[in-house]
Amino acid sequence: MENILEIKDLHTYFYTQGSVIKAVEGVSFSVKKGEVLGLVGESACGKSVTASSIMRLIAPPGEIVKGQIFFEGEDLLKLSSPCMRRLRGNKISMIFQEPQAALNPLYTIGFQIEEMIKIHKNISKSQIRPLALELLRKVGVNPPEIRIKDYPHNLSGGQAQRVMIAMAISCNPALLIADEPTTALDVTIQAQIMELFTQLRQDFNFTLIFITHNLALCSQVATCVAIMYGGRIVELAPKDEIFTNPLHPYTQALFSSIPRGMPRGNSGKSEFKVIQGVVPDASSKPKGCYFHPRCCLRKEVCTEGYPEFIEARPEHWVSCFMAG
């Protein structure tokens, strides 16, 4: 199938006083049409910056230094900003982590959804309201006729996220980027929202990039998983492949740190392991492989240079000297 999004060697740096923070350096991946890519990693590993780079929402002091982002064959980084603006929310849409904060508290949700439609679609005024109602119904905000007049503070977190999703899909986007859409929600609502994504994908047929740090959630929806560490993708493979056969020590460590079952009473040992150490500071990354200070398999070679991103098994890409 054809690639809807293809990122080549993306570098996004932030220039702060005295130091350069290399939030994303050398990220390359592609997403096929209809796929769901799970972008997984710890906090501050560059997931959100990658997403913002795709949307070209990096504001100074940040800058996309190098790289190409092909969306439907067109390099987004070469588009003029008005062209890019028309693309945002229309062809590529984005959902944020804090739904309550992402809605403007001064306007009704109806107004905000309608604003989206008005900006991107050339349809008559009388058609906008039914369309907004239809969207609200599709995302499960009930009853839409009443809720459409609500202000964001009238909504619960889950409902607000549904409204955000309604806004994001209002123009039938080809690509939807969800930046930790369920992090601010509790577990039951998480499950509902995930279900909603699955259902909407059937109805609207969009490609999804799902950013999360929750591997379980990722395994639910993703067809393909990319693991990020220190601003780079360390492993990329189809979901089943990566879950059964993780190659990168970081991925393996991540999987073994998933709690399995509840630790019983005071009997002592919880059954999951912790990855020792912390994510390296983005402005002073270690030499060699960024993961080597925390890696249990490290060798001499790991401290010398960054391992190349290689296809160790069919469709299974990894950057580790120990793999393959």
Binding site: M55, L57, P60, R85, R86, L87, R88, G89, N90, S93, M94, F96, E98, A101, A102, L103, N104, P105, L106, Y107, E115, M116, I119, H120, P143, I146, R147, K149, D150, Y151, N154, M164, M167, A168
Partner: protein, 362 residues
């Protein structure tokens, strides 16, 4: 589904309810409503046209109104005022008690227009015949000060509102643009603001006034004053709005709006500027007195509204000589009106600020 029946709370409603409990602010609010209403209906309240003069009665004191006639209660009436010269050739006014002139309500007198549209000649009160009623005394040309104060209020009170409105519009837009785009645009705009703010306002006002011709019609002068005052006033507002915009642009809903393809202009107008309103309303209320005082100052110096048109400032200009105040203290009364208005706006502004402060207990 409960929301079906109960009214949805709009963010703006709660503010007014809180203001209700602020006594001083509410009193000020009603004082201002009264003053503005009196300015709108100046023609009706005033017994005479602002330019209706009677030079015989130059600096005539306030006319006495009698409610009793030979010990009995009667319709209020006045006597005709006449004068003679004393040994220093000062006018001494006395009442000619030979004939009574009764006060009449809804009397027909000088023509005027309400809202500049409806022509009429009905006044709230007046006296018939050759007698004149001066509730607050007369000015040098024998014009009724009471009437002239209300006509003057039209200018003085409206200049504050119009001036603030214009500088608000300029300040909010420029501040919003400056804060939202930041970087070089921000730098240029803010330096320009600082240049204007660095020059003392009053001298800048005089300097700007002197650029324009001295002989202008009063309408031209009116707009000129508004323009000058707005030009001086916008940078202060722009600076604060810019600061708010700088923090607002980092808010997630602005980022979300950007991510969903809302154009920059719309983000500034819809998502940034409305969030600065709570500040802007307070700032506007608190800066109106500055405009009223500015106009008064210009008119006082004879650079503003010109005779025969009245404004509170140019009414006061007669009182610049100490001798005038000594012999005719009532010509200071327009100053009382300025004082009351300025106080009322300040107290109302304080109240609004308390209300809009989220740290205030509800």
């Amino acid at each position: 589904m409960q929301t079906a029946n109960c009214k949805i709370k709009r963010p703006t409603n709660t503010g007014f309810r809180k203001l209700r409990r602020h006594k001083l602010a509410m009193i000020s609010f009603y004082v201002l409503v009264f003053l503005y209403a009196s300015a709108i209906f100046a023609g009706f309240i005033a017994p005479y046209h602002f330019d209706n003069e009677n030079r015989v009665l130059s600096y005539a004191p306030a006319t006495k109104i009698y409610f009793f006639n030979e010990g009995k209660i009667s319709r209020p009436f006045v006597y005709l005022t006449s004068y003679r010269f004393d040994e220093f050739y000062n006018r001494v006014y006395r009442q000619d008690k030979s004939k009574k002139y009764f006060l009449k309500f809804f009397m027909r007198g000088d023509d005027y227009r309400i809202f500049g549209l409806f022509k009429t000649n009905v006044h709230l009160f007046g006296v018939e015949g050759e007698a004149r009623i001066y509730l607050l005394g007369a000015d040098s040309r024998g014009r009724d000060l009471f009437s002239r104060i209300f006509y003057g209020g039209q200018v003085s009170l409206s200049i504050g509102l119009v001036g603030v409105l214009i500088s608000l519009i300029i300040g909010v837009f420029i501040g919003g643009i400056s804060g939202y785009f930041s970087g070089r645009i921000d730098n240029i705009i803010m330096r320009a603001c600082e240049i204007i703010m660095a020059i003392p306002g009053f001298y800048l006002m005089l300097a700007l006034r002197s650029i324009f011709s001295y002989s202008l019609t009063s309408v031209q002068i009116y707009f000129l004053i508004v323009l000058i005052m707005s030009f001086i006033g916008w940078p202060g507002i722009a600076r604060v709005v810019r600061g708010m915009a700088l923090s607002l642009r980092e808010r997630e809903f602005v980022l979300a709006a950007k991510a969903l393809g809302v154009p920059d202009a719309k983000i500034i107008l819809r998502h940034i500027i409305p969030h600065t309103f709570s500040y802007v309303i307070v700032a506007a209320t608190l800066s109106i007195p500055g405009y009223i005082l500015g106009e008064s100052a210009l008119s006082l110096l004879g650079l503003g509204i010109q005779d025969p048109y009245a404004s509170w400032g140019n009414l006061l200009s007669e009182s610049m000589a100490i001798a005038q105040i000594k012999f005719h203290p009532w010509i200071l009364i327009p100053g009382v009106f300025i004082f009351i208005t300025v106080m009322a706006f300040n107290l109302l502004g304080d109240g609004l600020r308390d209300v809009s402060d989220p740290k205030m207990p509800k």
